[in-house]
């Protein structure tokens, strides 16, 4: 049991992760009566985002418009979009649900989720912006050989994107049953159709604005909710915490870490997945190319860090408030606990403090959150297919701009169909491990090759390809033979790999192989790649020759 809670906890903290994933296999979903308020508010959101898509499509003329919004997004706007990518249904529902069920342990995940942002800022934001154009593979292949590097980066991207999409799809289907009272398949198809429309017609411009609107709605909704909760306690934290201690079955222990991370290896591995996985998520890295220069890229990370930090503090208020305000209210309970599972704490709380209209608003925001996140994922996957694989690997760069964008539109359609299909296949299954694996892959493939390409002169193409491949395989192997898949899903007695989180092992083996193979690489190409480092370095810190905002 403890294991499952632990897994649920980890997953809930992961950005973009699905509601169902953190609900795990335990939640039996009961479809709620149809909620017209929530559905109408959601329809308003969908209508508004489709108008934006139409507007964005008319402004999308070039490849740069399509992949990077023409580099014309401001730092502040991009900060909201990045924060939106991170403030997923999981952060909102999952983390507040965790605080509701376990108290302080929920906070650990908020802290971990925030710490990756300063590191992205210090190490990556400016260099990535100055070296790349559309995808992070641009930066890695700046001085390394394009064909193998882009193939590897595209594999890393597609694995992360597909695993995430599945988790999001299953989450969307589950959420729509509980929130709107509509069938699972309906949700999956709706999400699939909308995300393909946003991405294929509106490209990065539409995807960014959908994310900005959603982030704003989510911040407003959570702020109002937290304010109303605090007003119930006369704005006294002391009173809120005392009443929570009095009501929660764990009593005073709710105010301290509950021993959920007791094994140091797991603790470290979890920390690695969180911090370095986030720094390797392709759809977040892609956002740095939507701003005009490094200056705005840095500003956007600062804004995003502030918004995410503020949002996490609100989830603490929501979680503790929910302990007091709903955990004893029969209206929100079934015989086994909270109606719809612990992840519904924030949703029920909105009804408890402000009634049906606000419940409708919060439900619509929760669903909009998933929609915005899958759109970002799809665009990232479509870019890897069209820009990295098709244009730079198959066609070796000999291809027209219009054709690349056309391929990208097809690719988003294919990803949409695939996501809907896989969402149906995995209905009702525990998909939590997919998110763990996505983070491990991001930390073991994308992150090491990107960071070393920018900071280590000695990195060679052979080293990057060998190490990245090893990182990918080790992450998958450890996850499949670990306790989550081998024991809980495949039903074997004993896990071959003893730890739940592969990131520590897969990332270190990736780094070790990359460094080892690069050092042993005595080829001419290795010498050329090292020689090109100075020029790359000067460009990465000065921005000379970097792709700027597109002048229309």
């Amino acid at each position: 049991m403890r294991g499952r809670i632990f897994g649920g906890l980890l997953v809930a903290l992961m950005p973009m992760l699905s509601f169902a994933a953190s609900g795990g296999s335990s939640a039996e979903v009961v479809r709620a009566p149809i909620n017209m308020t929530a559905i109408s508010m959601f329809m308003v959101f969908v209508g508004a985002t489709l108008c934006i898509t139409w507007w964005a499509a008319r402004r999308t003329h070039t490849t740069s418009d399509y992949y990077a919004a023409g580099g014309a997004i401001t730092g502040t706007q991009n900060g909201f979009a990045i924060a939106g990518d991170f403030m997923s249904a999981a952060s909102f529902l999952g983390v507040s649900g965790l605080v509701y069920s376990s108290g302080y342990d929920g906070l650990i995940y908020s802290v971990g989720g925030l710490v990756s942002w300063p590191l992205v800022m210090f190490l990556m934001a400016e260099r990535l912006r100055n070296l790349g154009r559309y995808t992070f593979a641009d930066a890695v292949s700046y001085r390394l050989s394009a064909v193998p590097i882009r193939t590897l980066s595209a594999c890393g991207t597609l694995v992360v994107v597909l695993l995430y999409l599945i988790a999001q799809m299953v989450g969307a289907g589950t959420l729509i049953q509980v929130l709107f009272g509509l069938p699972y398949e309906f949700a999956i198809i709706l999400v699939g159709v909308l995300m393909v429309l946003y991405v294929s017609f509106g490209g990065m411009i539409a995807t960014t604005w959908v994310q900005i609107i959603k982030a704003t709605l989510l911040l407003i909704g959570s702020s109002v909710l937290a304010f109303l909760v605090m007003s119930e306690f006369d704005f006294s934290f002391e009173r809120m915490f005392s009443e929570a201690i009095a009501i929660h079955p764990n009593g005073v222990a709710v105010m301290a870490p509950g021993g959920l991370i007791s094994d140091p290896i797991s603790a470290l591995s979890l920390g690695v997945a969180l911090v370095f996985g986030t720094a390797g998520l392709p759809h977040i890295l892609m956002r740095f190319f939507t701003v005009p220069d490094a200056r705005e890229a840095r500003k956007s990370v600062f804004i995003a860090t502030g918004l995410v930090g503020y949002f996490y503090l609100l989830t603490v208020i929501m979680g503790f408030g929910a302990i007091v305000l709903i955990s004893q209210n029969p209206e929100f309970l079934t015989s086994t606990g909270l109606r719809g599972g612990n992840n519904m704490a924030a949703i029920h709380l909105s009804q408890a403090v402000a009634g049906n209209l606000f419940l409708g608003f919060i439900s619509a925001v929760a669903f909009a959150t998933i929609l915005a996140v899958v759109a970002g994922l799809t665009l990232s996957g479509a870019s890897a297919i069209s820009h990295d694989l098709y244009a730079n690997v198959f066609k070796r760069g000999e291809v027209s701009e219009t054709e690349v964008v056309r391929i990208s539109r097809y690719a988003s359609g294919v990803l949409g169909v695939l996501a809907v299909f896989l969402g149906m296949v995995f209905e009702g299954q525990n998909v939590a491990y997919m998110v763990l694996l996505a983070f491990a892959v991001a930390a073991s493939v994308n992150f090491p090759i990107l960071i070393l390409s920018m900071y280590w002169r000695g990195l060679t193409t052979r080293g990057a390809v060998a190490g990245g491949t090893v990182g990918l395989l080790v992450a998958i192997a450890c996850m499949v033979t670990g306790p989550t898949v081998w024991v809980e899903i495949l039903g074997y007695e004993q896990a071959i790999f003893p730890y739940k989180y592969p990131a520590l092992f897969s990332m270190s083996s990736a780094f070790a192989v990359i460094v080892g193979v690069s050092l042993l690489d005595r080829s001419d190409s290795a010498a050329r790649e090292a020689a090109a480092f100075d020029q790359q370095y000067v460009r990465s810190v000065t921005g000379m020759g970097a792709a700027g905002a597109v002048q229309h």
């Binding site: 802290v111 800022m121 190490l123 105010m255 301290a256 870490p257 991370i261 603790a267 490094a294 100075d534």
Partner: protein, 104 residues
């Protein structure tokens, strides 16, 4: 063109500037990673430390201000970096690039 890059790379003011930037970068990275992993290790080995109440008349434990401080520290340290980089660093680099380009 690549000659200009080489000249900038070899420029002493540029190298000095980059040393300064990398000191700040690594100091801030160490600060964030250090505080986060210390927090994780305290949770793994001595969770009772975080369970101590702030005072005799409160139920709020040390764990709460510690977690909130790390979140604030993340925000403040990104703020420090943006402030230095978007101000001092960028303008220094810009001057260096202009000077070196002029002699090119």
């Amino acid at each position: 063109m690549s000659d200009l890059y080489a000249k900038i790379f070899a420029d002493e003011a540029f190298q000095r500037m980059q040393r300064k930037r990398s000191h700040l970068t690594w100091a801030l990275c160490a600060l964030m990673l250090g505080s986060f992993y210390s927090f994780i290790l305290v949770i793994a080995f001595r969770p009772d430390l975080l369970a101590i109440p702030l005072g005799p008349n409160t139920v709020i434990t040390w764990g709460i201000p510690v977690a909130v401080s790390i979140i604030l520290l993340g925000f403040v340290s990104t703020g420090i970096y943006v402030w230095r980089a978007n101000g001092e660093f960028d303008s220094t680099i810009e001057r260096i690039v202009e000077r070196v380009s002029a002699t090119d």
